[in-house]
Amino acid sequence: MTLSDLFGRLRKDKDGSDTEAIAADAPVCPSRVLSPFLAGLATKQRPVLLDLGPVVGSNVTFFGEEVGCKIFVEDLSADLDRHVREGKVQELPAFFERRFPQESETVDGILCWDIFDHMERSAAERLASQLTRLLRPDGLLLAFFGTADPRSLPRPTYTRHVVVDKSHLQYRPYQAARPKQKPSVNRDIQRLFEHLKITENVLLKTNLREVLFRKPALAATSSSAGTPVQP
C-alpha cells in the first residue's frame, strides 16, 4: 500500500463514509499461491471448496466457473465480530469445535485468507484443527499471515479478498470490531497446521506471507479412493 492510498483512505474515513466506499481504489496485489491452489483443485472431480471470508460474488463466479466446484461460504469474520461485540471472545475455541457441520474429509480446498491474523492462538489452534479434519487427503488450504505490526494500521479492518485473475487479488478493507492480533512467525504457522505439509510459502513485498498447505495423501483412509494424487 502506498502513502497516497493510506491518506486517501484516511480522508474518506474522516468523512464518515463507509469503508467499503473505497472498494474501487483498493490495491491489487499479485498472489503466488492462488494459481497452484487452483491448479490443485482442477485435478479433482467436482471439488468442494470452503471459503471462510465474506461472500464476494465475483469470487463465487470465478471459482464456480474456473474449477466447477461446489462452494460453501462460511464468513468467519462475522462470527468473530459477533463474539467481540458480545464480549465472548474466550468462547471462540469452543465455538469453532461445532462451527462446521460438514463431515470429516469432505472438502478439497479451503480459502482461509487472513482470518488467522484476527484471532488468539487458542482459537486459531482449534480452528486449524477443525479445518484439517474437514480437508480431504491431498486437499489444499490457502492462508495468509500478516507480518507487519497491526498497531501500525489506522483502524481495525478485515480484508475482502477479491480474485481479479489467477495471480492477482484485490484487497478491500472493511471495518472490524477489533484489530488484528500479534503476527504469527513461521514456526507458529507450521505448528498450527502440523498435520499438513507446506507446499508454498511466499513472503510478498506487502509484508503478507502466503502459505499453501496440502494434506498428505498418505494420511488417507482406504475409503478415499477416487481422489487423484498430486505429485
Binding site: 464476494v56 463466479t61 466457473e65 474456473e66 461460504v73
Partner: protein
Amino acid sequence: MWKRDEGVKPASDVAPSAQPPQTMPGTPQAAPRPQIGRDAVNIGKSVVIKGELSGSEDLTIEGQVEGKIELKDNVLTIGANGKIKAQVFAKALIVLGEVTGNVTASDKVEIRDGGSVDGDIVSPRVAIAEGAHFRGSVDMQRKAAPSTQHAKPAPQAVAAAAAAPQPVAR
C-alpha cells in the same frame, strides 16, 4: 385565403404540439401495463401464502411465502419486501428481499444489493452483488467437458476480472 390559413394553422399547430407532450409521458405509464397483464404477476406486500406455489408466468413476490415455489420455465423475482421461506425451483431467480431455503435455477440466480439468501444454490450462473447477504453453498455445473479444463480458464478469468470493479494496477 391568408386569413383562413392563419386561422387554421394555429389551431392545427396547437393540437399536435399539445398532444405529443401528453402521449410522451403517457407512453412510459402505459408500458408496464401489458407486462403485468401478460407476462408478470405480482404478489403484494400484504399477501401471505403457505403451501405450494407453481405457475407458468413470471412472478414477482413482495409478500411472504412459506413452502415451495415452482416456476421452472419462468423468472421469479423476490422484491425488496418479499420474505420467502421455501424451496425454490425456477428458470431464473432475482432476489432483492429475503430467501431462506434451497434454490435451484436452470438459468441463473442473481442476489442484488440488499438481497439475502440463506440456503444452498444450484445454478449454472450465480451473481451475488456487493452488499448482498449469502450463507450457504453454491453449486455451478461446469459447462465444458473435463478434457477442456486447461483451455478454458483464460476467457473465464477475463470474465471474472471484468465482473470485478476496476482495480488499481500496482
